[in-house]
């Protein structure tokens, strides 16, 4: 069977967020979604590129779109919210600004691939795969705060993804699998992203606010769609607790891991053991 979607994992899904890669692949296999990794993909450049050179920040994603097109694919799935945003921004800006499009062509020495469609897995799973029919495990004890972060929805003009101030795509998807999700006001607040490397104090404050708010509405888990959000909320949670004298112990899942659990995929096949904040106690109770 031929692949339907070209899969752009991006750097994080091959390292710090490898459990997102593993769980995404497992869920795709379970639901019969065909994905094929783009051969020879390169980094999208992420924030350091667009903070340094606009042209570089657009040429790097376009190289990946070019490679996808070479595989005969126009639908590209990018699970990492930051990669997703950079790929979509490249398409958007090249379409809006003929000058920059010409410069990208000059850098890549060829025509830009046309009618490329960059997708988040949320769009694929919400659009006709019917995961609800494949549910084998009920998770009634979970109360999940869906945290979308910045780049899935913003800037809305570029991303055209859901309602930018109060998205529901992840809530609807997990809800359709019988998982309870909660209303809360920090869905799209920023976690501080890559400032964790340099101004950790800022990230600890923003992450603290998010964890505090999730706890306040009664969540016992957070669901994310971005490896940077995950690093800040999960791996730095103990640091936040130390800094603010609090205790959360709030497991942070990729939404694909929660899908996997509901679809009956064993936890060790979803990379749950890689989390800093263990979900064992929580999952033993549900």
């Amino acid at each position: 069977m031929t692949a339907k979607y070209a899969y752009y994992p991006g750097c994080s899904l091959h390292s710090t967020g490898s459990e997102y890669d593993v769980s995404f692949r497992a869920v795709c296999e379970k639901l019969g979604v065909d994905i094929e990794e783009i051969k020879g993909w390169i980094c999208c450049g992420t924030s350091p590129a667009h903070c340094t050179s606009r042209l570089l920040s657009l040429a790097l994603p376009y190289q990946n779109l070019y490679l996808a097109k070479k595989m005969g694919r126009t639908d590209v799935v990018a699970p990492c919210a930051a990669c997703f945003a950079r790929l979509k921004t490249a398409v958007h800006e090249a379409a809006e600004d003929p000058d920059i499009a010409a410069q990208i062509r000059e850098v890549l020495k060829g025509p830009l691939p046309e009618s490329m469609n960059v997708l988040s897995p949320l769009e694929i799973f919400n659009g006709g795969t019917n995961p609800a029919a494949a549910v084998t495990k009920q998770l009634p004890g979970l109360k999940v705060a869906c945290y979308y972060g910045c780049l899935l929805t913003r800037p809305s003009k570029v991303m055209q993804f859901d309602e930018c101030e109060y998205p529901m795509a992840m809530d609807n998807l997990l809800g359709s699998l019988g998982i309870t999700t909660l209303d809360w006001s920090y869905k799209t607040e920023c976690c501080g992203g890559a400032l964790a490397m340099t101004r950790t104090d800022v990230v600890l404050k923003l992450t603290h606010d998010i964890l505090e708010e999730a706890t306040a509405v009664g969540a016992n888990a957070i669901s994310v769609a971005c490896p940077l959000c995950h690093v800040n909320l999960d791996t730095r949670q103990v640091e936040v607790e130390q800094q603010y004298g609090t205790r959360y112990g709030l497991p942070v899942f990729y939404f694909t891991q929660l899908m996997g659990l509901a679809l009956g995929i064993p936890p060790d096949k979803l990379g749950l053991q890689k989390h800093f904040v263990s979900a064992d106690a929580l999952l033993a109770g549900v």
Binding site: H14, C43, T46, S47, H50, D97, L108, E189, T198
Partner: protein
């Protein structure tokens, strides 16, 4: 843009921002939605709306030596909410690029070091090789023990790779080289 009166009689700095980002800061009417929504404005010396006003007034020293743009996390809240459709996050990028080009020492040097370390890493490896990038950052900031415990734990959990994948390094080196060339040519033009 040619017939837009607001782009005439701009400060040189505003023109530099326009060239770099396509953003016309003269459209700003100081509603301060950007400042109100910015999650990091509490740590900035000037709020985003103040920085934009200073760009319009041509206050180069104040703007280019500010911490504001270096603290920007590119969360795009300001850009999404601006009623005048000024892409504020792009203005922040343009100010950073202008400051670096003019040889001004970044007010938050670690952030600039992070950008350089990350890009050097992407250029040479093709994909971000986290361990190499972290070492590169430490060589630039001299914060050798920052996050050492965290790094060890990530390593134990198999979240950091020992060896980079270099299979696409030639591609990125070529792209970085050509971007430099095209940019140089356009600046000269």
């Amino acid at each position: 843009m040619e017939s837009n009166l607001t782009t005439i009689s701009q400060s040189q700095l505003a023109q530099a921002v326009l060239r770099e980002s396509g953003q016309n800061v003269n459209l700003c009417y100081q509603c301060r939605k950007c400042a109100a929504g910015c999650p990091i404005s509490y740590a900035m010396d000037y709020k985003p709306a103040q920085l934009i006003h200073a760009i319009r007034l041509g206050m180069d020293d104040l703007v280019l030596n500010s911490k504001t743009m270096w603290l920007c996390a590119s969360c795009e809240t300001c850009t999404t909410r601006c009623p005048q459709e000024v892409d504020v996050a792009k203005v922040m990028d343009a100010v950073k690029i202008t400051a670096v080009r003019r040889g001004i020492k970044p007010a938050i040097p670690q952030v600039a070091s992070f950008y350089r370390a990350a890009l050097a890493n992407i250029k040479k490896c093709g994909r971000m090789y986290e361990l190499g990038m972290i070492i590169g950052l430490k060589m630039r900031t001299f914060e050798f023990f920052k996050d050492a415990g965290l790094g060890m734990k990530m390593f134990q959990k198999g979240k950091l790779k020992m060896v980079p994948s270099l299979s696409s390094a030639l591609t990125t080196m070529r792209i970085f080289y050509r971007v430099k060339k095209v940019e140089k040519k356009n600046r000269g033009a």
